[in-house]
Amino acid sequence: MIDSLSVALTAVALVAAAWSVLLVALNKPLTLETWLTLGVAGLVVLLEVGLLAQAAIGVAQLVGTDRELSGPTFVGYLLGPVLVLPLAALWAVAERSRWGASVLAVGCLSVPVMVLRLTQIWAGHG
């Protein structure tokens, strides 16, 4: 896997999660009408694009490698965050209270976990 992409994805996900927690703390619902909520939405879109790139690169690398690793598990961790993040985002925006952003925080925090598992599996510590 590409280390720099993993680090970047982890960093963006943690910033987006922290931002979401801040929105909860400030009691700002995810209206997508204010600067604060549009900012976190932008970060989440950026994160999703990065995750899609990671999935594409990851599958290509899996096909090209002769390493001993579990293909289905690897692909699962590649596609997991790609699916979880938009689902969390949709569910977050559907909530009118401040707790919507908390769902987004959980979704964002799941990304570094899956990215970490991915690098572990790739390194052979499955």
Binding site: P72, T73, W99
Partner: protein, 132 residues
Amino acid sequence: MGEARRSGPGRLLIAVYGIFALAATARSAAQIGTRFDQAPVAYLLSAVAALVYVVATVALALGSRTSRRVAVVSCAVELAGVLGIGVLSLVAPAWFPDATVWSSFGSGYLFIPLVLPVLGLAWIRRTRGGTA
């Protein structure tokens, strides 16, 4: 109605449950699909745990009187599971050659499996008033 249970902080709880349901289901599917004979007891337990998380997520997300009971039962099963398997995995580690979500009280998952059912039951209790 059950609306109170799935909005506000309840939504956060359901989100965490949802991620656990997904993670546990995917993990047990991979374990059973690729290496079931290595640790059948642990992998069957993983599957049971996954099923319980899925049921709890759906039951919390739905708002009816019945789903509230289902949520209580599934949270209670989870609590019993994480405590029971937590003790067993320490007392008889030989039974668990590979870890489950509930091994060592869920330490591999930041003890979230231990906290989650308690929060679930507390939340169900708090939102009981007048609705179901």
